[in-house]
């Protein structure tokens, strides 16, 4: 009997809607994986939501970055029951009548919120979120308003920000280390309250409009498809987390390729020695293993206004790279160029590094509009002699030269000395070489030019390197 036949029809329908939605969100799911997940549904105890969620995720989602989308969709399609035991909240409110929270004043609710935020238990949060949405969100059936409006309204009326302030000042009194720990936990609890309120609002929207309609409003690009030029704060933080493993991959990749490509000289002694077991016939030649070489990466980053958003990403990437490569050096340029290796290495985190570079690096020569020609010529004059056959040069920029002279010979000279030159451009391919973009003239000397507007393209770049 097929797996599907044993499942209730309703569940199977729901499941296929769920898979369709995940695919629509861009998560690649093959037919085999759908079959696996259906099979999993048959084995897993359906009443155990955590196990069900984990099991379906294991069969369908093979990348950690996609898990967040999966979690939200799972909740829309499979968790419609009110979350958390009502009894717990009744006990807390001291009512015990089972009537819920309707009798509480806003003041009392705020006090409960305070308790829940200090404690941070998920049951309490869920209960709090439920009554807060009840009271404050003013949700009406059929009203065409997005969920975030209700979330905002609920959190504002709950006076959540003031609560956090209050908690933070109480943390300060708890002693130095304890205070730090508490502050860290409170921030986390606060984020979790927000998530619970969001989940609660979504749950009610689903009850009103159906899972599919809500899912459609929630459709957002996957982390790897978000354009670097339009990142919001959360996405920027997510990007930062994703860059570190990518930088490591790039480092591993470079080291590996170098090791593989070069085969050492014949090791005559070892070959003779091994031949003894074949009766003296040197059947298996032995080669010396090549010297492990240290990849050396030089990054040249355009940090001018036209690529301001990309520049932050660029610096993040370079920062991540510098922790992976033994010898990374970085330069920032606009119309002048300055080495920023020490500024990057000397800072604790990326925001400080960006600040240092913006305030201390000497990247403006005359007017502060990008001038690739001058910046590259200057680079060749000052550092050109240090470029060797072990150096890989990575240029990050849009090659918009503001109609200054191009000096492609500078690029040619870098390319001649270096092992490889790669160019990453944050502009869509269609805009290349239009207007003041002179990419082709530089690109001719590079080993490759890649469009790099989101993490997917960056990952692709790292993986397909020759």
């Amino acid at each position: 009997m097929s797996a599907g036949a044993q499942l209730a029809g309703g569940l199977l329908d729901r499941f296929s809607g769920f898979v369709a939605e995940l695919r629509a969100a861009g998560i690649p799911i093959s037919t085999t994986e759908v079959v696996d997940a259906t099979e999993a549904l048959r084995h897993l105890p359906l009443e155990d939501r955590t196990a069900l969620k984990a099991g379906l995720a294991a069969a369908l989602v093979k990348q950690d970055g996609h898990r967040q989308v999966f979690d939200i969709m799972f909740e829309l399609y499979f968790s419609l029951q009110p979350a958390g035991p009502q009894a717990l909240f009744d006990g807390l409110s001291g009512g015990g009548t089972g009537a819920g929270t309707e009798d509480l004043t806003a003041r009392e609710l705020a006090e409960l919120a305070y308790q829940a935020l200090v404690d941070g238990s998920p049951e309490m949060m869920a209960a709090l979120a439920r009554s807060a949405v009840d009271r404050f969100a003013g949700m009406e059936a059929g009203r065409p308003v997005g969920g975030s409006y209700y979330v905002f309204k609920t959190l504002r009326q709950l006076e959540a920000d003031q609560l956090l302030d209050q908690m933070m000042s109480s943390a300060t009194e708890a002693g130095q280390l304890e205070g730090l720990l508490l502050a860290n936990e409170y921030r986390r609890h606060f984020g979790s309250l927000r998530e619970h309120v969001e989940a609660e609002v979504r749950r009610r929207l689903v009850a009103d409009r159906g899972a599919q309609a809500v899912a459609r409003t929630l459709r957002r690009p996957l982390p790897e498809d978000v354009d670097f030029m339009h990142l919001d704060r959360d996405e920027l933080a997510a990007l930062q987390r994703n860059l570190q493993p990518l930088a490591r991959k790039l480092a591993v990749h470079l080291a590996r390729k170098r090791r593989q490509r070069r085969r050492g000289r014949l090791d005559f002694r070892a070959t003779m020695r091994r031949s003894l077991s074949n009766g003296g016939a040197p059947a298996e030649p032995v080669f010396r293993s090549p010297h492990p070489s240290k990849p050396e990466l030089w990054a040249l980053a355009d940090i001018s206004g036209s690529v301001a958003a990309f520049a932050r990403f660029t610096l993040q990437l370079v920062y991540a790279l510098s922790s992976q490569f033994s010898r990374t050096r970085a330069w920032a340029f606009i119309d002048g160029i300055d080495e920023v290796t020490d500024l990057l290495k000397g800072s604790d985190d990326i925001s400080q590094a960006v600040h240092n570079i913006n305030t201390q690096a000497d990247v403006i020569w005359t007017e502060g509009h990008s001038d690739y020609g001058h910046a590259l010529t200057d680079f060749v004059q000052r550092w050109g002699r240090e470029v060797t056959g072990r150096t890989t040069v990575l240029v990050l920029g849009d090659a918009r030269n503001n109609y200054h002279s191009v000096h492609p010979s500078a690029m040619a000279e870098i390319a001649e000395r270096a092992h490889n030159v790669w160019w990453l451009n944050p502009e869509p391919r269609a805009y290349w070489d239009t207007g003041d973009s002179v990419l082709a003239q530089y690109g001719a000397h590079c080993a490759g030019v890649w469009e790099c507007r989101n993490l997917r393209q960056l990952r692709h770049f790292v993986e397909q390197l020759p």
């Binding site: 696996d36 084995h43 955590t50 984990a54 099991g55 990348q63 730090l180 590996r256």
Partner: protein, 292 residues
Amino acid sequence: LTPRFESPQAVNELLRGVGYLADESTAAVTFLGDRLGKPVLVEGPAGTGKTQLAKSVAEMTGARLIRLQCYEGLDESKALYEWNYKKQLLRIQAEQVTRQEETWEELEEDIFSEPFLMPRPLLEAIRATDPVVLLIDEVDRVEVETEALLLEVLSDYQVSVPEMGTVKAKQIPLVFLTSNNTRELSEALKRRCLFLHLDYPPPEREREIVLAKVPGIEASLADQVVRTVELIRSLELKKAPSVSETLDWARTLVLLSVSHLDAATARETLNVLLKHRSDIERAAKELVASPR
């Protein structure tokens, strides 16, 4: 084929029985791996108990653990099988000495048979008649091309030896693959596996782990240790402290007979927790900051 486990809950209890405190997801995926007969690909940062999971599952099911440690340059002869050509040579020479009349076909059949085959971990796991757990450790270290070696074993539980034919598994072993995610694994490999992401445990569970693994630690100190580690993990570091480093730190503090952690003690012992100089400096700076 009888399933090994009753329910995800049962897996969780069994794991606890051998001292591995798993979360519900881990238990559920392990349970499914058995029920669906699929390998489990475990991914996550170093030191979150990926390898230990496979070891613990072997221990709790009373199975033998067969481990294939992956590395760059791993090939067929190290992963699947190899012909013992020295023994084959001896066999041929022995025939010349004893002057037995044997046709080449007979001889060939003889030297490409069972006694001359040296099974490597994958073949060994397939041929085993006793219960086994196969652990393919750090699969991201092999090249993409070598990954293909694993595919036949992982999807059909069989190994093809051209001279002998196909060796099919007599039982479906539990298979775990671990990856530190230093490169993207191929789609083909991922499709054949169930995927489990193991992250650092939440403070509640890590506290439980510390209490279980560090004898003589007081609950209040365990609590402080775990919360401090969590704060440190939230910083931007080259290498965030792993669970085993948390345990080392807790043990150190117990040995120093610290009963209450303060910022000064924490700073002096940070080198147990963090292994990069810049990370230590970064964390030390954070620990003396004033709250907020």
